[in-house]
C-alpha cells in the first residue's frame, strides 16, 4: 500500500468553525489531491498541488483552502464549516505524468452539525 496517512479519520464539528484535515505521504510523490465523496456524485476534486507551495483549484473549491509547505504534507482547511461540507474526504497522490495512476488514503469522515 502507498504510504498515505490521513488525519483525523473521523471528526464532528459545529457549523461556522474552521477545520483542518491533514494528508501525509511517505512516497515523495510530486502531485497531491483532495477529493470529496458524496452519494450519487462519485469523487469530486477540491484542490490539488503540483509541488511545494504550488496549488490550484478543482471543481468544488468554494469554502476550502489548501497549503503545501513540504512535499509530504497537504492540508485542507474548511474556513467556516457548513452542513453541505459533511462528506468523506480523500487524499490522493500521483508520481508524475509518466505514472498517472493515483493512490488514495483511507479517508476522513467529516460531519458538520
Amino acid at each position: 500500500d502507498a504510504g498515505i496517512t490521513q488525519s483525523p479519520r473521523h471528526k464532528v464539528t459545529e457549523t461556522g468553525t474552521p477545520v483542518t484535515l491533514r494528508c501525509h505521504q511517505t512516497e515523495n510523490h510530486r502531485y497531491m489531491y483532495w477529493y470529496r465523496q458524496d452519494p450519487g456524485h462519485g469523487l469530486r476534486l477540491i484542490h490539488y498541488s503540483y509541488g511545494v507551495k504550488d496549488t490550484d483549484k478543482g471543481e468544488v473549491s468554494d469554502g476550502y483552502s489548501v497549503s503545501r509547505s513540504k512535499t509530504e504534507d497537504f492540508l485542507l482547511t474548511l474556513e467556516s464549516a457548513t452542513s453541505s461540507q459533511t462528506s468523506v474526504y480523500f487524499c490522493a497522490i500521483t508520481a508524475d505524468r509518466g505514472h498517472p495512476e493515483a493512490f488514495f488514503g483511507q479517508g476522513t469522515r467529516l460531519t458538520v452539525v
Partner: protein, 113 residues
C-alpha cells in the same frame, strides 16, 4: 471538458456469474483510463489502468477491461464473480497535464449467493 458516465448505478449478480460494468467517457484528446474499487469504509484501490498499447488490460482479482476508442468506452468485466467482489467500482479518466482524475458516479456491484 472531459466527463465519465457509468451507465449502471447498481448491478446485482449471482455468484459465479459473469459481470460487465459499463463506462463511457468523453474527451477530445487521448486519455488514460482507470478502474478503482472501494470496499465499505475504505479508500479506493486501483483495479487496472489503460495508458497505451494493448486495448485489453488485465487487473487484480481477475478483472479485465477493454479500451474502445471508437466507442469511447472502457467496460470492466469478470467472467465469474465471488461474494468478495461486492463493492463499489469507479471508472476514471485522467484530466490534463496535472494528472487530475475525473470520476464517474460509481457502480455498486452486489454479488448474491
Amino acid at each position: 471538458a472531459q466527463s465519465v458516465t457509468q451507465l449502471d448505478s447498481q448491478v446485482p449478480v449471482f455468484e459465479e456469474a459473469p459481470v460487465e460494468l459499463r463506462c463511457n467517457y468523453s474527451s477530445s484528446v487521448s486519455v488514460y483510463l482507470f478502474w478503482y474499487v472501494q470496499y465499505p469504509n475504505q479508500g479506493l484501490q486501483l483495479l487496472l489502468k489503460y495508458l497505451s498499447g494493448s486495448t485489453l488490460v488485465k487487473g487484480i482479482n481477475g478483472f479485465e477491461a477493454e479500451f474502445n476508442k471508437s466507442q469511447t468506452s472502457f467496460h470492466l468485466r469478470k467472467p465469474s464473480v465471488h461474494i468478495s467482489d461486492t463493492a463499489e467500482y469507479f471508472c476514471a479518466v485522467n484530466r490534463g497535464s496535472q494528472g487530475n482524475l475525473i470520476f464517474g458516479k460509481g457502480t455498486k456491484l452486489s454479488v448474491k449467493p
